[in-house]
Each structure stands twice: as structure tokens, then as C-alpha cells.
């Protein structure tokens, strides 16, 4: 006799190593977004922007490298940054869903980048006060890069939003479809709560007002309309616990195939 299937999938229990989980979240956000940006390489509207996007992608990749390396050390199972980047399945990735969405048109890429960049600056700024000195140092180093990223994407938001009818329409459409993915950025779970109590990470919810006002300031100047917040469903899961959109698997297939086809290869 089999027991009836539960009607609701229970949320996974809090994992034993909260810091490891958190470092994966930070590292995977940057790894996946960096990969998405790198897809513009050779395809950006003009040569200068091609270089600019690749530059940001490389910054994010560099940050991911350091964060995943630290994650591997914290885990203590002998996995380095390459093992974590190339030999995990989609369900083991901890990035938010915002960063895994396909790159779309240039307006979509810029709108997504802008929403993330503002979040990144606000979060990294708070992480520089972490009681974990290694994490605080990584945050301080990354913050310099993030400040430039938001300068770049923010400037583009102004140009596209307050540009032609077509550029305005495209970036507004992108904002409208991206907005619902921003709730996940500030949804704290037991991992966040445990680390926040120890002063290692900031209270995520406290970052939201700062993010919202910075974003709104630019959208107003760009003559764009801030979409309305949609409340997050109770018990909703997301990328932080391994629930991803269909798009992540395709991204990983491309990102991981060389490392998996030739394990241990060097060049």
C-alpha cells in the first residue's frame, strides 16, 4: 500500500551550511548573468558597446570565480570554482531567475542589467560591513565594479527610455515583463535569516526600499513607468532553492559542454 501523494511539495529543509548556500547564490547570480551578457559578444549594436558588455561580463565572471572558490572552501568537500561551475545540474544552481532569462533584445538586456546592477550595488555596499572579513573584502572589491556597471546601464536606461518611440516601447515592455522577477531578490528565507542574525549578511528586506527608490529615480528621468509590485505567493519557490525557469538548462548545456566533454583539460 502506498501513501497518498502529498498535495503540496514541501519546502526543502534549511541546509546545514548556510554560508555555503549563500555564497552559491552570490556566485551563481554573477556566473549566469555574466554568461548571458557574453552572448552579446560580436552581436552588440555597435563595436564600442560590444566591448562594454563583454567588459561587464568579465567583471561578473571574475566575481563569480572568487565567490565560488570561497564556497568550495567553506563546503570543504574538495570542490573548486570550476567543479561548482561546470559539474552541477540546474537544480543545484542557486541564482535568481532574473539573471537566467534569455538575453532578448538590447532593451531587455539593458533593463535586466539595470535592475540587477542597482540590486548589486545596494547588496554589496551592505556586505562590506559583513562580520565575515573575507566576504567583506570580496564585496568591497566587487562594489567598485558594480558602481561602474550601474553607471553604464543607468545611462542606457535614460537614452532608451527617453529616446525614440521604438526604444521607449521596447524598454518599457522589457521592464513590464521583468518586474515580477525582482520580488525574488528580496525574499529572505532561513539561509538569509541565519546569516543575518550572525551579522554576516544584511537583512534582505531592508534593502528593498533603497533599491526601489534608486530604480524609480532613473525610471522617472527616463520617462518610463514603474510597473506595480506583484505580491509573492506564500511558499513560492525560486532559483534560491533550485527551482528555475526552463531557460537555465539550455544555458548550462552550452556553458558546461566543453568542461564535461574533456574533464580536466587545460589550455
Amino acid at each position: 500500500m502506498t501513501s497518498p501523494a502529498p498535495s503540496v511539495v514541501p519546502a526543502p529543509p534549511s541546509p546545514p551550511n548556510a554560508l555555503f548556500e549563500y555564497l552559491l547564490r552570490l556566485g551563481d547570480d554573477r556566473l549566469i548573468l555574466g554568461h548571458r551578457l557574453s552572448e552579446w559578444c560580436g552581436h552588440a549594436p555597435i563595436l564600442e558597446e560590444d566591448i562594454a558588455l563583454a567588459n561587464v561580463a568579465l567583471d561578473l565572471l571574475g566575481q563569480a570565480t572568487i565567490l565560488l572558490r570561497m564556497a568550495g572552501e567553506v563546503e570543504g568537500q574538495g570542490r573548486n570554482e570550476d567543479a561548482l561551475a561546470y559539474f552541477r545540474e540546474a537544480i543545484e544552481f542557486r541564482n535568481c531567475q532574473l539573471v537566467e532569462l534569455p538575453k532578448g533584445d538590447f532593451g531587455f538586456t539593458i533593463a535586466r542589467q539595470f535592475l540587477f546592477d542597482v540590486y548589486d550595488v545596494v547588496l554589496l555596499d551592505a556586505l562590506t560591513a559583513s562580520t565575515n572579513t573575507e566576504l567583506a573584502a570580496i564585496a568591497a572589491k566587487s562594489l567598485k565594479e558594480a558602481r561602474y556597471h550601474v553607471r553604464h546601464s543607468g545611462e542606457w536606461m535614460l537614452k532608451l527610455g527617453d529616446g525614440t518611440d521604438e526604444s521607449h516601447r521596447r524598454v518599457q515592455t522589457a521592464l513590464d515583463s521583468l518586474w515580477r522577477f525582482t520580488a525574488e531578490l528580496f525574499a529572505a528565507d532561513p539561509v538569509d535569516a541565519e546569516l543575518a542574525a550572525a551579522g554576516i549578511v544584511p537583512d534582505l528586506a531592508s534593502l528593498k526600499p533603497k533599491w526601489a527608490s534608486l530604480v524609480r529615480e532613473v525610471l522617472d528621468r527616463a520617462t518610463l513607468t514603474s510597473p506595480a509590485d506583484t505580491p509573492r505567493l506564500a511558499g513560492a519557490r525560486g532559483g534560491r532553492t533550485g527551482a528555475h525557469t526552463e531557460h537555465l538548462g539550455h544555458l548550462l548545456a552550452e556553458m558546461q559542454i566543453v568542461a564535461r566533454s574533456h574533464p580536466g583539460a587545460t589550455w
Binding site: L47, E48, I51, A52, N55, K159
Partner: protein, 112 residues
């Protein structure tokens, strides 16, 4: 006698060739250390000064070694004409007394 000077505007030719399909051209100058001159590094396209600065940062300063950037609309630069380089420059070449080569530079002086 009417002036026959034919000075050029940098970038005018390439902008004319590009028509309206390209953004305006900017000249980029980089400074490598405090007190050093800003030197011409190259050019790029951008719609305004802020974007020109950002593009210059990414194209000419991303590998380090730069502490300051200038961007200038190429059209704002007036250049001497190659066809008049003879009259323009040659008279200065054969008057050695105009050159500061008879001075001894004290040891320890740098950047001369």
C-alpha cells in the same frame, strides 16, 4: 591677398562618409600618471560626452595604466593641412639656434 589656408576638421571626412548611420566621432586622450600630459589614444563613436567617456574607459583604459581621460568631439579639433606642411613646418627645421640642444640637463630631472 585672400587667404588660401585650407585647415581641416578632424573627423569631418569620416562623418561625411558614414552619413547618418553612425554616431558622432570623438577623440580620446589618456593620462598615464599625475603630471604627465594627456596623449591621443585613438577615437570612437558615441552619442554624447558621457557615453564617449564610458566607451573610452572600456576601449582604451580597461587594461589599466590610465588615471584620467579626456574626450573631445572630433569636429572641435582644427588640424593643419598636409598639403601645406612644407611652408608650415620647414622654416623651423634649419635654424639650430632655435633648438634647446646646447643646454645641459641636470641629472635627476625627469619628464623633459
Amino acid at each position: 591677398m585672400a587667404s588660401t589656408v585650407t585647415n581641416r576638421t578632424i573627423g569631418a571626412q569620416s562623418d561625411a562618409l558614414a552619413g547618418d548611420s553612425q554616431w558622432p566621432l570623438w577623440e580620446v586622450f589618456t593620462q598615464s600618471e599625475q603630471g604627465a600630459p594627456h596623449e591621443h589614444a585613438g577615437s570612437l563613436h558615441a552619442v554624447d560626452a558621457e557615453q564617449a567617456l564610458q566607451n573610452a574607459r572600456d576601449v582604451y583604459a580597461r587594461r589599466g595604466g590610465v588615471i584620467s581621460l579626456w574626450v573631445i568631439p572630433s569636429g572641435a579639433i582644427t588640424a593643419s593641412s598636409p598639403s601645406e606642411s612644407g611652408p608650415f613646418f620647414d622654416p623651423g627645421a634649419d635654424k639650430a639656434y632655435r633648438h634647446p640642444q646646447f643646454y645641459k640637463v641636470p641629472r635627476g630631472v625627469r619628464g623633459v
